[in-house]
Assembly symmetry: C2
């Protein structure tokens, strides 16, 4: 069965919500309640969840724990992903020290920077190497995910270096600007300035409370 991309985006949100509810001790929840909390229609929630099997109980709803685990298994394998961070600046450090990221199934294996002050040191317990060592370090450690948090003009070179290791499978690009991505590597871009521009457009064209979501 084919799953739509927007569905995945919502699955991530369901997962978040369910993790919180589980911690609060909630046992059961309905599609309507999930929808109300996240701003989606109940039918949308049900359709999304049904793509991955019948997991609810008619007349009752969904078991929070079971659903949470189920979505977790859909979203990511039980394995821990090894990731590298290129660019130990403000944004990079923010991610490196973010509790939520460090407690997920992610393991920071290496940092890379161009700044001699940083190279050779550890940040949050992770060693920082020179950019040029990326191919070797990434291959040795079998790192599959790269977070690109370098200035736009370094981004392409950095990505090419990382890709040359041959172990890279996905990139989270926090840089602005266009990137040429090698075949076989999945990229997800986050561009905060672009989001700000979208926001300005929406404000300008929404005198009365109409927004994107």
């Amino acid at each position: 069965m084919k799953v739509a991309e927007p569905t995945i985006e919502r699955m991530v949100q369901y997962h978040r919500l369910l993790e919180t509810l589980r911690e609060e001790g909630r046992r059961v929840i309905s599609s309507r309640q999930i929808g109300d909390m996240l701003g989606f229609k109940a039918s949308q929630v049900r359709k999304d969840l049904s793509y991955f099997g019948e997991i609810g109980r008619r007349g009752v709803g969904y078991n929070v724990e079971r659903l949470c685990d189920h979505i977790g298994s859909v979203l990511s394998s039980p394995k821990t992903w090894k990731i590298a961070l290129a660019g130990v600046g403000h944004i990079g450090t923010a991610l490196l020290t973010n509790k939520a990221i460090r407690s997920s199934r992610l393991s920071f294996e290496a940092l890379f920077d161009i700044d001699p002050e940083k190279i050779g040191n550890e940040f949050a317990g992770v060693h920082c190497w020179d950019f040029n060592e990326m191919p070797d370090v990434m291959r040795d450690r079998a790192i599959e995910i790269l977070i690109l948090a370098v200035p736009a003009r370094e981004a392409q070179k950095c990505l090419d270096l990382a890709a040359s290791a041959g172990t890279l499978r996905g990139v989270l690009a926090l840089t602005q600007g266009t990137l040429m991505v090698p075949d076989g590597i999945t990229i997800v871009r986050v561009d905060i300035l672009a989001e700000l521009e979208k926001l300005m457009f929406f404000i300008k064209n929404a005198p009365e409370g109409a927004g994107p979501e």
Copy 2:
């Protein structure tokens, strides 16, 4: 004429690209070339651009400078938006010191934090106040946009405080978790951890180079 939301998302990208091309001295470009550079179909590019008037020349293409200005005027008014930043942590500082943001039509008017070490100081030339002063400071300075870069548990309180000023029109939320947004305020969310989870899903389900974009 109604413009689709995905169109706006792409308009922001066209604008970026054109700014770069203009700096490089490029005079003319075709829809196909724009599409190739950004990963869209040429017909998509033409349709997007045509929503805002006939701006190209048949048989020739688009004048880079003219198109860039045109999109700029569509995306945001010529005015400078006043913005406040709540949360002067790693992410907040990254935005505050980002050249691209500071050179756009955005003016950082105020910072807010909860940390006594930061309150009363200036960062990148902008004064930092206590959270509790948000309503007054935002009203006095007629600040319309808030960047929320505080921990998830503070986010809702912070947003409510900012909204109470009455001048707030848009929010860029860099926090994870669910927010209740007052009516009449536009919100755009950026959740890096959610993007990472999406990336992991795409990698897992794309053994052969199929990605989102």
